[in-house]
């Protein structure tokens, strides 16, 4: 057995023990796993390496933290609930339209932050009660918003796994919008109906209205949505006119947050920001932990072992290896799976359209957020819908996950044809 495999097993073992036996959060389990890798490999405990690893995600940490602050202001100002009320009033009689719209609302924070947790904890938390009002059982509602989380994470404009995979082969994150939209939006429609249609009832408006906040929209009107609109416009301008509007997502979100402060209900920005960062900390901690974990994997040669093993798979089994290993490794984290496995698989898939392939690999990597013990998206979703066991949510996600893998593999197989479509 190669020594690198021994180190890897030690790291994975300590990680699993930390998560399951000691019930530690993923971030700390990852830190302990990194320490185990260092010790087993004979490197001692070089703090420099642990700290250095976290710097791979400093910019991402700022993006997620500011995005959460922005989402919190949108929520506190009453804009999110108002948006739901508007959608429900217009579309409640046509569930085939309503469900995809709610899916889109729930995906939105993930689309702009690249974090499934941001989606689940913010817009997911607002959409969930509406879904329950419409008749969806709690575990199904959980599955709905968990799915919105990962589809939002992969949908354009911000897709961190795709950035990580592209970065590994010096491919800029440019031109991903269309393939990512083609990958995610059809699935969003499909799964919103999949989860929703069997349960949804047409509810009388009077019944719904009693449970919705209609006052805020009446009082402030359309201007409630100004922060969302400004953020969306600035993000588009940031892509199209980067020389002028290339201020970066953290600044865009803070501009949105500042607007959120004045357009609707008044709230305390300090405590809202604190709460937002508190919600984000588990994810930010995981990012820091993944950074350490990958630094140690690289240092000890485990990364090389994993990458070369993945490349050694016979071509006939390549797709099976992608379908199995990336979601499995996602137990560490979707970002970690993208970095460690996404990049070598993209290299092994030479001759395909690289952008479409990288986009599809990022979709498979996103399933890591359903994979226990991390299962970020599912755990947060269970928390949001008040389901004590997240496994009840997870069960509902098994078949949809297989559909996602099949869909993504189809994109890889037909990458060139798909590229030719646009």
């Amino acid at each position: 057995m190669p020594f690198e495999l021994v180190i890897f097993l030690a790291m994975v073992g300590v990680f699993a023990a930390g998560c399951f036996a000691a019930k530690l959060p993923v971030s700390l389990s990852m830190l302990l796993a990194a320490c185990a890798g260092l010790l087993v490999s004979g490197n001692g405990l070089p703090v420099r390496h642990l700290v250095e690893g976290t710097f791979g995600y400093v910019d991402t940490i700022l993006v997620i933290a500011t995005a959460m602050v922005f989402m919190r202001t949108v929520q506190e100002s009453g804009a999110l609930e108002a948006l739901n009320a508007v959608i429900l009033r217009r579309f409640r009689t046509v569930p085939a339209l309503l469900l995809p719209l709610l899916m889109l609302v729930a995906m939105f924070p993930g689309m702009i932050t690249g974090s499934s947790s941001a989606s689940v904890l913010t817009a997911g938390a607002v959409v969930a009660p509406v879904l329950i009002l419409l008749g969806l059982p709690a575990p199904v509602t959980g599955a709905f918003i968990a799915m919105a989380g990962i589809l939002g994470m992969i949908a354009p404009p911000v897709n961190i796994p795709a950035m990580i995979i592209g970065g590994g082969i010096d491919m800029p994150y440019v031109g991903f919008e269309v393939p990512l939209a083609l990958l995610t939006f059809p699935l969003a429609v499909l799964f919103s109906l999949w989860f929703g249609l069997p349960h949804v009832k047409v509810v009388e408006w009077e019944v719904l209205a009693a449970k919705l906040d209609l006052e805020t929209y009446k009082k402030y009107g359309i201007r409630l949505f100004l922060p969302i609109l400004v953020v969306a416009v600035l993000m588009v301008l940031g892509k199209t006119l980067p020389q002028v509007f290339g201020m970066g997502l953290p600044v865009v979100f803070l501009i949105g947050a500042a607007l959120g402060l004045v357009v609707g209900k008044r709230f305390n920005i300090l405590s809202a920001s604190k709460a937002a960062v508190n919600d984000a900390l588990p994810v930010l901690g995981i990012l820091a932990g993944v950074g350490m974990f990958i630094q140690v994997m690289t240092l000890t040669g485990v990364r090389g072992f994993v990458v070369v093993s993945a490349l050694s798979v016979p071509p006939a089994l390549l797709y099976a290896a992608i379908a199995v290993s990336i979601p499995l490794f996602g137990a560490v984290s979707a970002f970690g799976a993208s970095s460690v496995l996404g990049v070598p698989f993209l290299l092994a898939l030479l001759g395909r359209d690289q952008i479409v392939t990288a986009a599809a690999l990022s979709l498979i990597a996103s399933l890591g957020d359903f994979m226990p013990p991390t299962a970020l998206s599912a755990i947060f979703a269970a928390q949001v819908v008040g389901e004590s066991k997240y496994s009840r949510v997870l069960v509902k996600l098994v078949v949809p996950s297989l559909v996602i893998i099949g869909w993504a593999l189809a994109f890889i197989v037909f990458s060139k044809q798909i590229r030719a479509l646009y």
Binding site: E4, S41, V47, R48, H49, L50, V51, E52, G53, T54, F55, G56, V58, D59, M163, G166, G167, G168, D170, M171, P172, Y173, V174, G238, K239, P242, Q243, G246, G248, L249, G291, I294, Q295, V296, M297, T298, L299, T300, G301, R303, G304, F305, V307, V308, L311, S312, S339, V343, P344, L347
Partner: protein, 376 residues
């Protein structure tokens, strides 16, 4: 004190201790390693002499000048464009400590991206330093740096890096890549200003040929190769033949017209210099590598690259002997000598002649340390 305040205090103190321990290492990484001024060096200048704005900035860097007794052509050697490519820097150091120029002028910048030497890339697990033993028993230690400018000196990266002269877009972190910033601009980032300083030097000193030294990971297609601007192609073809004669196999590739910001494209377009770039094979920067340590940097041996070679994934031969630093530095130095020779043959009225440069065979036989000077 409440219980949770006690744990908060403990956690905070632990975090501060970890931050302090790491900080000591990070700050220590900023101390430049000494380079011994060899007998051929006539002046040591600073890049800021060609772009005063750089003075005192982390981008300012030494320029070693070797002025020959008789006039002739001039050459600029850029080492350390990417400080995680050690043969580039070490080749420049060996030139500085050994070369003697009889005709023409040689300029050597060992740390083209000085800021990049002050840190390591996150998640690469790179060693901070590597050491080479000298025959007398002493040891010389050098920093292993990052591919890019230190974010402490240039932050944040934009989401998308737009190359100023062409509008070409690349991923945001390429903003800190010196070899994507040419020809540089005065009101640009630190990286772009260093590029401009180098371009100004080339223009002001009328540099005839500029050689940018690099390394590539074995899975990267452009490797063990010369990349030449179209005006430099005839000269580079001669060098390929000359190296072939020394049993050094090297590829020759034309500088792509649509890949902007690189030395072999922009310096050739923006100045009169003949712009070329050379690559050697460095497993310590690749993503298929196994254990990452000093030995990998210097010996260039790696079992996973041997496996990857068997799988047909590499662009250079890779066996158990790997690609030791002596081989990589030897390739670069031989290439530089051949460029000087070819230039002199082409312009006999303005020769560029130098001696004392360690030869490929001698490096392989005696080791790198034999050609480094002991520190005074």
């Amino acid at each position: 004190m409440k219980r949770h305040h006690a744990t908060a205090l403990a956690v905070t103190l632990l975090a501060l201790a970890a931050a302090a321990a790491a900080s000591i290492r990070f700050l220590d990484h900023r101390k430049p390693e000494p380079i011994v001024r060899g007998p051929g060096v006539t002046e040591v200048r600073m890049l800021s002499e060609w772009l005063p704005d750089l003075a005192g900035s982390p981008g300012d860097t030494e320029v070693y000048v070797f002025r020959g007794a008789s006039p002739g052509s001039s050459m600029l050697v850029l080492g350390g464009t990417h400080p995680n490519e050690p043969s580039s820097f070490l080749s420049a150091v060996l030139l500085i400590e050994n070369a003697l120029v009889s005709a023409g002028t040689l300029y050597v910048i060992p740390r083209a991206n000085a800021s990049g030497f002050t840190h390591n890339d996150p998640q690469e697990g790179a060693p901070e330093r590597y050491s080479v033993a000298l025959p007398g028993g002493s040891v010389r230690t050098f920093r292993y740096g990052s591919r890019a400018t230190n974010p402490v000196h240039q932050w944040p990266d934009p989401d998308v890096y737009v190359h100023a002269a062409s509008g070409q877009t690349l991923s945001g972190n390429e903003t800190r890549n010196l070899n994507r910033g040419y020809p540089g601009r005065a009101d640009g980032t630190l990286t772009e200003r260093v590029c401009l300083g180098i371009a100004n030097l080339i223009r002001a000193e009328k540099i005839d040929i500029s050689v940018d030294l690099h390394e590539a990971s074995p899975e990267y297609p452009v490797i063990n190769a010369i990349v030449a601007h179209e005006r430099a192609m005839p000269l580079a073809s001669q060098v390929v033949l000359g190296l072939e004669f020394l049993d050094i196999k090297i590829g020759l590739e034309p500088s792509p017209k649509n890949l902007r910001g690189l030395t072999h494209r922009e310096l050739g377009d923006a100045t009169d210099t003949l712009a070329v770039l050379m690559e050697t094979a460095n497993p310590s920067q690749g993503r298929l590598r196994g254990r990452t340590d000093e030995a990998l940097v210097l010996k260039g041996r790696d079992p996973y690259y041997v496996k990857a070679q068997a799988l047909g994934r590499l662009y250079v031969p890779f066996d158990e002997n790997g690609h030791p630093i002596e081989e990589r530095v030897g390739r670069h130095l031989s290439g530089i000598s051949e460029f000087a020779f070819a230039l002199s043959s082409e312009r006999p009225d303005r020769p560029l002649e130098f001696a004392g440069v360690p030869e490929y065979g001698a490096l392989l036989e005696k080791g790198l340390g034999a050609f480094l000077k002991p520190l005074p």
